[in-house]
């Protein structure tokens, strides 16, 4: 972490991520919140790049900034117009509790992890190959189960919203 450029990049990206994450909570306009969320995702992707995890970084952009936020925008578009400014917030207390619990968990995890230094020259290559091999080889069962669950969820969602014929 003694490299000046990396340090600057780290703090910029962290500031961007945390700042836009705060903006999501603070802003009253849902549309702005989604946009801030996208910026936050992009900041996280930048942090992944700093960690030499290029595949995960691009997957973050592709899946979160590209696809998940698109689904959110889609949902946003389908809500009636009045919901554009969310004035009433009747889930304040449960939301606070939930975020406290999650924050506590992350803190515990961060504190209890053994942050070992890794060699610099472990470098940039073949993270995608490693991930692919891990998914297909070692973790193939959870991978397939996740796929089946997603399929079931998709079929269920389609069945739910299908109009009666």
């Amino acid at each position: 972490m003694d490299d000046l450029g990396i340090v600057i990049a780290f703090w910029t990206l962290s500031g961007l991520t945390v700042g836009s994450a705060l903006l999501i909570v603070v802003t009253r306009n849902i549309f702005h919140a989604v946009l801030a969320l996208i910026v936050s995702f992009l900041g996280v992707a930048g942090l992944y790049v700093l960690l030499s995890a290029d595949f995960i970084a691009v997957a973050q952009v592709l899946v979160y900034a590209g696809a998940v936020s698109v689904l959110m925008l889609f949902a946003l578009m389908l809500t009636p117009r009045q919901a554009r400014n969310n004035a009433a917030n009747y889930l304040e207390i449960p939301g606070l509790l939930l975020s406290l619990v999650i924050g506590g968990l992350i803190t515990v995890a961060a504190v209890s992890t053994d942050w070992a230094e890794v060699d610099d020259d472990r470098g940039f290559d073949a993270t995608s190959r490693l991930i692919g091999e891990a998914l297909i080889d070692k973790w193939v069962l959870p991978f397939e189960i996740a796929a089946v669950i997603l399929l079931v969820a998709m079929v269920g969602a389609i069945m739910l919203v299908r109009e009666d014929q």
Binding site: L4, G5, F55, A65, G66, L73
Partner: protein, 406 residues
């Protein structure tokens, strides 16, 4: 470091030492990065301006018109005149729109194509970054373009723009899937997601990947056309239906930026197609004599011409028909293609076959697959073409009501 002896900054020797100091050679990176940015920016700017003229002239030729031919020799200065006109025009901002986002849209819209250009190699050592995950990077950032378009549309507070936004998002969700799957075909063969490696693979094996993966090429070309919102997939700004879609509320240079980015996106897509499937800067050994970037630009303009050709000739499909095309035809077809490509690569690598013999055989098999899927799946998966007579019936005697015999 510079910070340690900042009081000596007037001493030029100090600065030169800092720059040339091999341990602290970070400035070299910065300068190289800036130079690369300038190169990409100027290439994008120049092509955008030239493309306006090319597109208007070529489409005019297709439409039995002359096209712009008054401003400058052969109308070459027409883009300049257009730009001057657009800069002078008043920029109208919708009063009830989301003004900051509305103004942000055209500013940010240039960023994704610039990012994507960064990984396209223009020569053997001429890529801004040789990213390990180049293919995914390109796809990720083209999807960001769509988000920006959505931003612009939503913030205009206009119903036509909303339609455009809805269509953009729906198209993105549908066509991104076959796009990624089709891009995986070359990636499986080259064994790398880096565009430079894919070109190198084509050079080493003296073949263009389009011969090995013709189906992936066609799916990729169609999906890319959808991804960059060009005719016949230009539903987001379908002029005859929803006025100008997401562009409806934009005027002046803000509109001009969107218009230019559309051309730049076409160039980017053409570049990716040329790199993935047509060997990028490699051209059967010709790159020894011709600079690689010229070959790339030639290939880019070849595909750009194809995009223009699409635009000049094809009517537009309806939204649901395009969705059906993506989900019911392109997706299964590209899945089959990936399966076959994976099998072939596995066989080739496990048995250590000679590529000179194996690749032509794969090519023939995949071309057969393309023919079969285009013929068979086109008939079964994508729905049947409606029965339609080619001539009106003759109504004699007069006053009768004619109905179809069925």
């Amino acid at each position: 470091m510079l910070l340690d002896n900042f009081y000596d900054i007037r001493d030029l020797q100090n600065l030169v030492e800092w720059i040339t100091d091999p341990l602290n050679g970070q400035l070299a990176y910065v300068v190289a990065a800036l130079l690369g940015c300038v190169a990409i920016l100027s290439f994008i700017g120049a092509t955008a301006i030239i493309n306006i003229w090319i597109e208007r002239r070529v489409i005019a030729r297709m439409q039995a018109r002359l096209g712009p031919n008054r401003v400058g020799p052969m109308g070459l200065l027409q883009p300049v005149a257009d730009a001057l006109k657009l800069i002078q025009k008043e920029v109208l901002v919708p009063r009830l729109g989301d003004v900051p986002i509305f103004l942000l849209g055209p500013m940010l819209i240039f960023i994704p194509p610039m990012f994507t250009f960064g990984v396209v190699p223009f020569g053997e050592n001429m890529a801004y970054v040789n990213l390990n995950v180049g293919v995914l990077f390109i796809i990720a950032f083209t999807s960001i373009t769509t988000l920006l378009i959505f931003m612009a549309a939503w913030s205009s507070n206009n119903k036509y723009a909303l339609f455009g936004a809805m269509r953009v998002i729906a198209m993105l969700v549908s066509y991104e899937v076959p796009l990624v799957l089709a891009a995986m075909g070359p990636v499986i063969f080259a064994g790398s997601m880096s565009l430079q490696d894919i070109v190198q693979f084509q050079k080493d094996n003296f073949t263009m990947l389009v011969w090995i993966q013709p189906l992936a090429f066609i799916v990729f070309l169609l999906s890319a056309t959808a991804e960059i919102n060009r005719s016949p997939f230009d539903l987001a700004e379908a002029e005859s239906e929803i006025v100008a879609g997401y562009l409806t509320e934009f005027s002046g240079m803000k509109w001009g930026l969107f218009y230019v980015v559309e051309l730049v996106n076409a160039i980017v897509s053409a570049g990716v197609v040329a790199t993935l499937f047509f060997g990028g800067w490699w051209l059967f050994g010709l790159e020894e004599w011709i600079p690689g970037w010229l070959i790339v630009i030639g290939k880019i303009y070849f595909f750009y011409f194809i995009f223009m050709w699409f635009r000049g000739t094809l009517p537009r499909l309806r939204m649901d028909q395009l969705m059906a095309f993506a989900w019911k035809y392109l997706l299964p077809v590209s899945l089959v293609n990936i399966l076959v490509a994976g099998l072939e690569v596995t066989l080739w690598l496990r048995n250590d076959w000679d590529t000179g013999i194996a690749f032509p055989i794969f090519g023939v098999i995949n071309a057969g697959l393309l023919g079969f899927l285009a013929w068979f799946a086109g008939r079964t998966l994508a729905g049947k073409m409606a029965e339609a007579p080619t001539r009106a019936h003759m109504g004699t005697p007069l006053g009768e009501i004619y109905r179809s015999p069925a």
